[in-house]
């Protein structure tokens, strides 16, 4: 082993840089390197393929939380099954709802969406188009209406019409705006008040280009509305989204799905193995 240490160290340095450039962050990369060096010593391994395979193993382990990601279109907890979408401005919430509505429709479920972004210009119009494309119903109100009451109306309608799934869209917001986070908490309370157990999922939609701030986003949104899963969008770009490695572990939640484009079909279940391979490419 000692004769190959220099070679291994160079390779480890290179891999370290690659992981940093994929947004895993300093702490996570250092930890992976330490784990790896112990693993390699134990395996008495040092060839480049072995090193990369060992590193992939370490990362995949971090990305496999206690709760596995749920199958799209499968197991629904409630009647309706309520999913709340949250996240910062422009991360891809509205588009993702369109895609997920389509996925549930393709699985034969009756889907209704709530246009609870009553703030941003044409946010409702945008969701209405997606709902039409997906074959889902849409509950909406006028601009400036109270977001929580739109959510309540939608859940009420979903129950009355015996829908299988309700997807709730919310306005993008930065966690630094306490008032907006308060509004989100209210939306969640209102849903729970109308249907016990709702929302059954609260998904944080995260743009793959996001850097270390994703950790703060995850923490703050989780404090407000207890996030149950992550969605990573725009993975069809150049960014690798590596910040979900420390984030998924920090919150101990699964990455449910990934967005890989702007159209209805561009939503895939998260595959830790595939994702890790792309990180190390």
């Amino acid at each position: 082993f000692s004769g190959k240490t220099a070679l291994t160290d160079d390779l480890l340095d290179e891999l370290e840089d690659r992981l940093l450039e994929a947004d895993l962050g300093v702490d996570t990369v250092m930890e992976i390197r330490d784990h790896l060096q112990n693993d390699l010593r134990a395996k008495k391994a040092s060839g480049p393929d072995e090193v990369i395979a060992a590193m992939a193993e370490v990362i995949e382990r971090i990305l496999t939380p206690g709760v596995p990601p749920k199958e799209i279109g499968a197991d629904l907890d409630g009647r309706p099954h309520v999913v709340l979408f949250v996240g910062v401005n422009g991360s891809g919430k509205t588009t993702t709802i369109g895609k997920l509505a389509h996925a549930y429709r393709s699985a034969g479920k009756k889907v209704i969406v709530a246009a609870a972004d009553t703030y941003r210009a044409a946010a409702v119009d945008q969701l209405v188009v997606w709902a039409e494309r997906a074959g889902a119903e849409c509950v909406r109100s006028h601009e400036g209406a109270d977001a929580a009451s739109v959510a309540w109306d939608a859940l009420d309608a979903a129950i009355a019409r015996e829908m299988d799934v309700l997807l709730v869209d919310t306005a993008g917001r930065l966690h630094t705006h306490r008032g907006l986070m308060g509004e989100l908490e209210k939306i969640k309370r209102v849903l729970a008040g109308r249907l016990e157990g709702a929302p059954h999922e609260t998904l944080l939609v995260l743009d793959a280009t996001t850097g270390q701030n994703a950790l703060v986003q995850g923490e703050e949104f989780s404090k407000s509305v207890d996030v149950t899963g992550l969605i990573l969008t725009k993975l069809d770009g150049t960014a690798r989204g590596g910040v979900i490695v420390p984030l998924a572990r920090k919150l101990d939640i699964p990455v449910q799905m990934v967005g890989v484009g702007e159209d209805l079909e561009s939503l895939m279940p998260f595959d830790a193995h595939e994702f890790t391979a792309a990180l190390l490419k």
Binding site: A121, G211, Q212, A214, A239
Partner: protein, 294 residues
Amino acid sequence: ALTARLSTVLDRLRGRGVLSEENVTEALRDVRRALLEADVNVGVARSFIESVKEQALGSEVGKGVRPGQQMIGIIHSEMIRLLGGEGNSAEVDLSGSPPVILMLLGLQGSGKTTTAAKLAVHFRSGGRKIGLMGLDPYRPAAGEQLRRLAERIDVPVEVARESEDPVDAGVRILSELKAAGSEVILADTAGRQTVDEALMNELASLRQKLNPQETLLVLDAMTGQDAVTTASAFSGRLDCTGAILTKLDGDARGGAALSLRGVTGLPIRYVGIGEDLGALEVFHPDRMAGRILG
């Protein structure tokens, strides 16, 4: 914070007049970590550290100046210099013969449409007649979004029709806005990925037809390491003249600013600091430096 950490590390060097290689190297390890945590690109952080090291080594610590302070001073001024330096106004120069055209481009969701409307508000206060041009026929209700914003601020707007080619729309709307007397025209384009050949070609062709005075990259301040790849790709292909950093009302450290400067040299002209149409400021290198260094 970095400044506190550096003070602790370097103030152990009291009483010595010169910063040695060993203590500079140790301090710079802390700086590197802080930069990476602030989303500064790995390569950009590396060259930043190199130039700080060069300036710090052997530099005389002035009387009454602690080594920690000396180091922080070097780091701070080097960062300000890299971000655009003091003195020059970052603003767009609107003094050309009208209509002055400014084109906004960038990744999906970075804030282009909102920023176009903000710039309209900002420039109008200078007494100019503004026109807004929406060239996104792809995103559902994109045209409607720009229309609503334009109505709010009472600025003339024209948008691409459903399934109209953006380049044709650009040519069409340019002549319409010119005829309507617009002196400054803000062109909002569809978000796109730099790996999308067809859309990058579309943008290049649009730029050629509109011949804008300013081609501005709109980048989200929370962008991580990808800032370098994205900025180089847009800047390389589109020959950008400046950048706008958005969502600075968040708590992202904003290392993307240094990355983009370090790799493309693009001047950062404005920053978005909120969702409402008044939330736009001229870029200040010193404020950004303080934010990145934390």
